[in-house]
Each structure stands twice: as C-alpha cells, then as structure tokens.
Symmetry: C2
Subunit: 374 residues, 2 copies
C-alpha cells in the first residue's frame, strides 16, 4: 500500500535529499530558537536547504537576521499546534498549522525529512494520517538515541513512546526498523539487536517477549543484524548491543528515567564542586574535561526522536530544545535524508514481512498463528 | 488468613524486634563479606543481635575473627541456594539451605526481619511459601530505595520486580504498602504517592492505570497518604513524590536503567578527571566533595529490596553487595524491625482492603467489578 505522491520538483533546484522540512513553531522557546538552530546547522552543511513553516511575517525577519534567506524557503502557515492539544483535536483542526505544512512538504517529496519541536501525540497522529504506515508495519515507533559506551557514543532504543502497546510482531518490526536506522543514522554496518526484558535467561518475562525472542532471532539474516537476545535496563548504555527493542510504555519510562538520573547527577556534581574553595578551584582546573563530559551526557545533544514505520521520516525534537538541541536534530535529519533512509527502511521491512509470512505459512509454528491472526 | 506461628522465645533473651536473621551464604563474595558487613552493623547498633545461617564450621571462625561471637547465634545449614537455581528447584530441594533457615527464624518469630544476598527468585518463592501472603494481598512486591532530591535522600519505588504483572488492585495494594514502608523506613509521616505512567495527563496510559488512578485516589484517606496522581520516569528522583507505584516489569527496567546510567556517568567522570595533569590536580582538590557525591549515588548504599505483602518482612540484598552494601541492608532491616513494621503494614492493608470492599459493594462502580471478579 503506497500513498499517492505528487511528483513536485525539489525546492529551488535542490536534490530533495538535501532539503529538510522544518516546523518553526510549537517549541517551548518559540521560532527564534528554531531559526537560530537552523542557522547553526546550515553553517556546517553548505549543501543543505530548508523549508521553514510558520507565519511568514514572523519568520522573515528572523531568517533575514541570521543571513540565511537564500537557503531557506518559507511556507506560510498561520496556526500552531499547542502542547496541550489532543491528537484528535489536531487531526480535526490542524490543516492550517505549521506542523501540517511541514508534513505536507515531505509528503509531496519537496523535502526528505520533516522536523518539529511540537506536541508529540499530535505530530505522530498527523504523520500517520498524511504519510501512512509503510507496508508491513502495524505500529510505527519512535526511536531515540541513548548515550553509550559504544564507539559511536550512542545506542538506539525503540519504541520510546509512539504507542503504549506492542505485540510480538510489532517487536519484530521494531528490530528490523531499529537495525536499519542504526545502519543509516549511526553508520553501523551490522547492528547488534537486543530485546529488553527483566533478565537475560530465556524463561524470563512476559509471554509475548518469549515469542518475539524467537521471531527476532529468526529474522537476523533477512534484517542483516546480529541478535544478542534479551538485555536488561542496565544494558541500555552498554557496548554489548546497538539497538534495544521494547514496547512504547517501557521505553518511555526508561528514557525519562535515564534523563532524570543524568540530570540529578549533574546537579549533585555542580553542588559538590561549589562546596568549598578547594573544590571550586579544583573545578576550574578540571573545567575543560568536565565540560566535555557534560557535553557527552547533555540530553540536548541527543535530541531527536525519529518516527519509524511511515512512508517518510519525521523527527520529533524536544519541546524544550534550545538552539544546540535544534541543530542536533537537524544534523540527524540531514544524515538520514542523504542516505535515502526512508526508502531503504521501507524495502527492508516489506521484504522481511513477506519472507516471514512465507516462513510461517510453511512451518505452521506459534508465530504463524499470531501472524495470520492479524 | 494468618500463618500458624510457633511461639518460640526470642533468641538469648533479646526482644525479637532487635534480632535480625541473616543468610550468610549465596552472595557473590561469600560469607566472609556478609560477616564483615554484619560486624560493621553491630558496631553501630549496640542493642542488636543476629542469627546467622550457613555451615557452622565455616561461619564460626569468621564470627570469632570479628569478635562478635556473643552477639551472633549460628544456625547450622549445610546447603546453599545457587544464583542459577530456578525458583521451582529451590522450593523442592531447599529445606537444608541457609536461605530456608533464615526464613524459618522469622517464621518462628525468633527474629523480626530476614536478610539474604541470594537468588531473588528463590528467596521470593521460599518467602511466599513459608511466610504466606498477608491478608488482602494478591501479589507481593519488592520495594527499592531511589536516590532523590527529597530531604531523606531517597524515594521508594515498588514493584521493583517481584512479579512481571500487576492489575489495578495490585497497584492499589502497592500504594498502601509503599506508603507504610516510607512511614516506617524513611520516617515520612504522610508520604506522597504517585503512579508511574507515560504522561501526567488523565487520558494517558493503559486501561488498568486509569482504574488504579481512581482507586489509589480514593484510598488516600484510609492509607494516610497524599496521592499526587500520575508521575513519569523523570520524577523517580524528584522531590514531588515519595512513593512511586508501578508493575514489576516496568519497575525492574527503570531500576536497572537508573543504575546503569549512574554507573556510566561515574565512569565518564573518572575518565574526565584523569584526562590531563590539570584535571587530575583539580580532582585532588575537589576530592572530598567528589567522594561525598559518589557516596550519595553509590548503588551499594541504597542496598536492600524489601519484600512487602508477606506476613513477615524479608530484605533482598544485592548479590554483588560488598561489606558496605551488606551493612546498609542490615541497617534498613533493623530500622524496620524496631518500628514493628510487619504488623503495622499487615493491619493497614487488611483494613484498607475490607473498607475498599465495602465501598465497592455499596457503590457498584467499575472498581467494584474488578474487585469482586477476583
């Protein structure tokens, strides 16, 4: 099932895979921060171009101020999706918003990836409606980056909260999508995939996890990844896995728990270093190294939840992202855009789904039942 | 339903609420570490006494070496529950183990609280079999302490992994038990209880969470706590809540995620401070403050998962706990023992369960259905 697409030419002669569609509105800090982040990103990526969505009268002066007018096309959109709007409200009343406009630009293939700091539920609902689920995907997922001991500095975890449920087939799809994302977003040729559980022994965990354990193991060849089996919460930052698969409820709690813990420790560290003159002097001497550490674990630099499983790619940036955070999300988007990620992902999931279907029809195992039962 | 109890006199004339029952075996570091931790604990608590369980020939010299022989009674037990033993195996073959012996001592009221570093699944299975679930409790839970911004330095989270499931009634029971534990273990007169979810808005989350939200809100008066509503993963270390209620799957993942994140940051911090001579000199100057910080977030000092919902209290110490960790678990156990926690908790849950039953029978709401349906 493919969505009908308008074959609009890429904006202003740019290859579509160098154009990003940026929702200027909806972030906690307003469009000035988004434009500042965009400007920082464009400085680092000379070939990049952006379509910026929001009220033209408000955006034009901001773009002019940063001197990026010839690399930015503004699509005028009068309205804004509010953080408090429910997804159902957004779908009914959202057509004139900057978020809708941002999604339309990727739907029309004017840009390769859409980025928004707005309301997650609204963005997901609108993306599902306009971009449609890719073939073989039942529940799309949000993939996030997790600071880790791996050479790339990050692991991928999904689902970080697109859906509060996931059955065994969804978890298999997440494994395939996560591996594809790690390959294209983090340059890991053969990602190692793990399934999050309360223990690494085979008999542990909920029933659907035991079935998913088998399904993912069987799909490793098709998906071009290594399956490392069950992993635990403590493995999220580890270097024994690149992609961690879980349902959106657990993933969301884990993500916020990790962020909350990092923030608490940073605060305590700051307090410890300001405790007395010796520690303050020590902090000054160690300042460069400590700043490098803070940068490493800074949630703003890990900014960007990627919606996977739609026909095009959408990136949700933190609502509270500052200029640095917005630029980080744009860099990630550009990397995925350049690699032709959306099409590669769709091809991978579709071929795996059809192969899995064949396999389950032939073998008549448990997994075939749950598959054909859908 | 009360378990039949032998009315054995407290060991050697000590009040039972000053006697702890300590499994010397089953930890990764062996009995020498447990006895060293016990010795450190006894130095700080002059009125305390311990019953130590394990092979007498092995334990006697250790106890003598630390000069604590007159404050420790050894109960000879030849066998040890292994970390790899499955719960079913432990129940069939465990009668001669030190773990079984440690539980029997609290069952017989010779000691108030049992502590073990052994296999969690085995300890929970054995505790359920020998101590029985308290009246009104369907699923017992493991409560853990979470470093937080609260004045006490900790929040309570449960279930940390006793069971992988929890329905709305279980979550209500957890709220009551967690509040009672916070009162007796952390000296918080009126604990604030929150229910873990993927967002704080009322419409978010799984169906059973919405029902539990209502049940816990209604039970706040009976349970003598304040209900703050839904909380998120980022609130686990916050000072807006004292007790966080969740199912054992989510709780276990959150706990291990928090520990893993803290460990990663500690490693990175150490690396940052060893980076160059300036930062190393800085680290020396700031050393005292940094050590205080490390102590604050050290998982060993937060050691001790408390099994709640049985007729007596059992504490699971980390398998890898060192002397400091064992002593921390013993201090927590002693605090709960002295406060008469087990009896207070049982009374609170039983009265709440019967009141809730009355209320649901009278009102015929959704919650009454799910209650009577059990």
């Amino acid at each position: 099932m493919t969505t009908p697409q308008t074959d609009t030419a890429p904006t202003q002669g740019h290859a579509a895979n160098q154009v990003l569609s940026v929702d200027a509105m909806g972030g906690d800090k307003g469009p000035a921060t988004v434009v500042a982040g965009l400007s920082a990103f464009l400085r680092d990526r000379p070939a990049a171009h952006a379509i910026l969505h929001g009220p033209k009268a408000e955006l034009e002066p901001l773009v002019a101020k940063h001197g990026i007018a010839e690399r930015v096309t503004i699509h005028d959109a009068a309205d804004v999706v509010k953080m408090t709007d429910k997804p159902s409200h957004v779908l009914r009343n959202g057509k004139t918003t900057s978020m809708w406009s941002a999604i339309e630009a990727v739907r029309n293939r004017q840009a390769a990836v859409a980025i928004s700091c707005g309301n997650t539920g609204g963005l997901m609902a609108m993306s599902m409606l306009r971009l449609r689920k890719a073939e073989g995907v039942n529940r799309p997922a949000i993939a996030c980056l997790w600071p880790s001991r791996n050479p790339s500095g990050f692991n991928v975890m999904l689902d970080a909260g697109a859906d509060i449920r996931a059955d065994q087939d969804d978890l298999l799809t997440y494994a395939l999508m996560g591996a594809s994302y790690a390959r294209n977003g983090l340059d890991i040729a053969r990602p190692r995939v793990g399934l999050l559980n309360v223990g690494t022994e085979e008999h542990k965990g909920r029933a659907e996890l035991k079935v998913a354990h088998e399904l993912i193991g069987n799909a490793a060849i098709i998906g071009d990844f290594d399956y490392v089996g069950f992993v635990e919460g403590g493995d999220l930052p580890s270097n024994k896995v690149d992609v961690i698969v879980t349902d959106g409820f657990t993933g969301n709690v884990a993500l916020k728990t990790g962020e909350g813990t990092a923030t608490l420790i940073s605060e305590l560290l700051r307090g410890a270093l300001m405790k007395n003159p010796w520690s303050m002097f020590g902090a000054v001497l160690a300042g460069g190294s400590l700043r490098a550490l803070r940068k490493r674990i800074d949630p703003r630099r890990v900014n960007g939840g990627v919606f996977l499983g739609l026909n095009q790619t959408v990136i949700k940036s933190h609502g509270g992202a500052d200029e640095t955070g917005v630029a980080a999300a744009l860099h990630l988007a550009y990397r995925l855009a350049e690699s032709g990620f959306s099409d590669k992902l769709a091809a991978r999931v579709a071929s795996a789904a059809s192969l899995a279907q064949d396999a389950s029809t032939a073998s008549g195992t448990d997994s075939s039942e749950t598959k054909t039962g859908k």
